[in-house]
């Protein structure tokens, strides 16, 4: 460009000396094209407004989405072309290449470009920064911007029905029938009977009353809520190196599926894991996240499920806190839970020893081995046993 700018100066100098419309016209055009236009383009480029449609996006594996980026030119100078390139992680790129949309942006015009995404793997991803390039109509100058507009994309783990994981579809967790009939559970209708003096009016079953022409009241099952706590082992040393990532993903998917199963049944579920969260984790206040531990108090409701799935989307294995340290760290939570669901790679003897301690305290321990089963005899334990072992094997049996 320096040569052309020098040439422009020469033209201006000669036009001033020689006079005449032709010389002045050439000088004017050169000044506009090589002097003013690049400056204007640079100034307009700096004022170009680039914004994302959203800050966070949540997807399940296999979902397709489109990230939109709005471009606004607040100036009078039109851009011949504007190219936008988003930093899309490989795990989200649709097709074989990253999209590179190019648009023309007129003066005071707003346009939207879209980047297609496909959620392939669980994770918390960060899109951005955006790299924007804009150019003039004659190939003289281009301005490049880097816009720090970022967007977090959370891809939840696979949530599968339990039979797909090789687990019995009628696993019973959470609320248990109480031996002492003290607390009727209004969510569990057991039948109707005739009204007796002292029955609360809110329990009257009006349709049955209308049908029988006598007051009928609802009868409920009496339950006690047994909180469930999922403990997910993500200590790197516990997983075989030869198929480390599939095993880890299977463990996370199993934990997510169990959490969904429990919470969708109306029970309370918590989570504790010896894991680190993704560096792009969106800041949340409802999660206890200290170095190497992720802990959720048992709660009910879809909000709890959403929080657990979000945590499971971002957990990563680590190598400095083992599962026994997690058990020790989570002792306070463990005391409040009646049923412990341990998702581990294999049922080692040390693990069974640790489970025995919890059994002595009256808690149930269900172990879900995702990699290998060492104590096959436990697989045949009767339903309702305090200690049960399950082999998680999507698509085949685990090696015994």
């Amino acid at each position: 460009m320096l040569t052309w700018k020098i040439l422009t100066l020469c033209c201006v100098f000669l036009a001033l000396l020689w006079q005449g419309r032709a010389a002045y016209s050439l000088a004017y055009l050169m000044v506009v094209l090589f002097g003013a236009a690049p400056l204007l383009l640079a100034r307009s480029g700096n004022r170009l407004m680039v914004s994302r449609g959203s800050r966070e996006r949540f997807l399940f594996p296999g979902d397709e989405a489109s990230v939109s980026v709005a471009l606004r030119n607040p100036t009078l100078l039109p851009f011949a072309w504007v190219s936008v390139q988003d930093s899309v992680p490989t795990g989200l790129v649709k097709g074989t290449r990253r999209a590179r949309p190019v648009v023309a942006l007129g003066s005071r015009q707003v346009k939207e470009v879209a980047f297609p995404l496909v959620a392939r793997e669980r994770g918390v991803y960060r899109l951005g920064p955006l790299r924007v390039a804009a150019g003039d109509f004659f190939g003289i100058s281009t301005c490049h911007l880097q816009v720090p507009a970022e967007e977090t994309v959370v891809v939840y783990p696979h949530v599968r029905p339990l039979p797909e994981l090789g687990l019995p579809s009628r696993l019973s967790f959470g609320s248990l029938k109480a031996l002492e009939r003290i607390n009727p559970d209004p969510a569990r209708l057991a039948g109707v009977r005739g009204y007796q003096a002292g029955d609360p009016l809110r329990t009257i079953h009006w349709p049955a009353t209308a049908r029988t022409q006598e007051l009928q009241v609802k009868q409920f099952d009496h339950t006690v809520t047994a909180n469930c706590l999922l403990l997910l082992d993500l200590y790197e040393g516990d997983y075989p190196p030869d198929h480390f990532f599939p095993s880890v993903e299977r463990a996370v998917s199993t934990a997510a599926s169990l959490a969904a199963h429990i919470i969708q049944r109306g029970e309370a579920c918590g989570l504790a894991a010896n894991a680190v969260l993704s560096e792009y984790w969106p800041e949340r206040t409802d999660i206890v996240h200290e170095t190497g531990y992720v802990q959720f108090q048992p709660r009910q409701g879809t909000q709890q499920l959403s929080a657990i799935l979000l945590a499971l989307a971002g957990v990563q294995p680590q190598n400095h806190v083992d599962f026994y340290s997690l058990l020790a760290e989570s002792r306070k939570q463990l005391r409040g839970a009646s049923i412990l669901l341990w998702v581990v790679p294999e049922d080692t003897p040390q693990l069974l020893d640790a489970a025995a301690g919890f059994l002595r305290e009256g808690q149930r321990v269900l172990i879900f081995a995702v990699e290998r089963v060492l104590h096959g005899e436990l697989l045949a334990a009767p339903h309702g046993s305090a200690l049960q072992l399950f082999a998680v094997s999507p698509g085949g049996d685990l090696p015994l």
Partner: protein
Amino acid sequence: MNVKSILPALAGVFTAAIVFLAARYASLFSTVLFVPNWLWAFLLGSALESAYFAAYFLTPRTPFTVRLVELALWLGPIYLLVGRSPSAFLWPACLTAVCWLLARGCGLELSRLEKVADLIGDQGASTVSWEYESLTSMGQDELALGFFWRRVIACAAAVVVLAVAAHRREVKAAGALLLELRLAGGTAAASGLALLGGAYLFRLQTLWACAKAAVDPALPREWLRNLAIIVALSLALVYLAPIDYSPVTADTVGRLLAAVLSRGVELPELPKAAPEERPSFSQSGDPLPEVDSVGLGGIILTAMYLLLVALVSAVLLAALGFILFELTKGEIERLRGLPRLAVQVYAAVRRAVLQVLAALGRLKSIKPIKGQAIFPGQGEERPSEPSADRDSPPKRGVRALLLQIARQAGKKGLVFRRSQTPWEYGQALRGQFFPNEEVVGEFFQGYQRARYSRSGLSGAEEERVLAAGTQILNRVREWKGDEKDG
């Protein structure tokens, strides 16, 4: 939008306008350089032809003979029009040849821009950073369209030099000539800027295709619209901007320098000669000194002179021979490709004509505004026309009937595959719909004769084949999936 199709036109107009301006300014200096008005048509025509031919057809294997013939086609009529006078022919021929060559360069550059994928080489499309490549493909100080910029600036500078020379010699252009000059100047500026902008768009489109960028389909249209606005503003600047306001001009600088020099340098006073001592040649004519007779030295000098002339002549002849040899060496080989070139030109012209006709057809088929009568004189009461029923019986012969049958059969699941010949498709049709009937064979035999035979079908034969085809068509239409043999 195919930008390339309009770029040679812009290059041709720009070149013709520049040559026109240069010739007009040159004619202000000398009447010998005056050119007749009809020459402008030749300038424009030769520039357009040269630019289009170079952009679309010219390759390194194009015979030189073709180029010479091409140029001769323009120069020949000029020679006739100037009255077969070589002296009158020289200047117009020179202008036409320059115009033709300048336009050719632009056309060749457009052709080269299209081959940018070859220049990029084996880079994967994902690694092509076209934003960078478009600007700095040839070096940091080089524009993306260095050739066009140099060409446009050099042409403009040449015209400016001529204009300034005319201005400084106080050769005034007035009246119609001034109007011509301004129009030509505006045309040159507008077409030059449009050429630069369009060529950059063309280059970017090529790179975008190479990098597989997702380009907004509306971009070329918006680009050209904005470019038109920029060109209009530039023309306004050229015509309306103030000029000649500089207090320091070449004249003032010259006078200043002369004054400084005259004060600073005191020249020695020359002795004044008496008027009677003015030198004069004697009219009587003194006798010249006698030359000695030519001796041996003279002979040697003469011989050396002759030898030198012979050597120079030999070198020139050798150079000429070398050039002729080099030109004709590959020429015979290139001439073999002449028929192919002719076919290419024919195909391109045919394609262009078809595109124009299609565009006209589209214009014609634009639906009228609601409420406006389609048929004049009929107002709102349009006669009921038969709807465009794709299933109606064919009216365009056997080949159209086969298309109808294939379309209907495709709906029933028997698709006419690209890998099938019509006869194979007929066999499949027979197996599916007409297991025991000869009507299919009759139709497809007739089709083959209509399609491939030189003689074709006679009237009666065609009617028979059409009847068979219509029968097949009706049968296929009525066919339900469960009545395989029905």
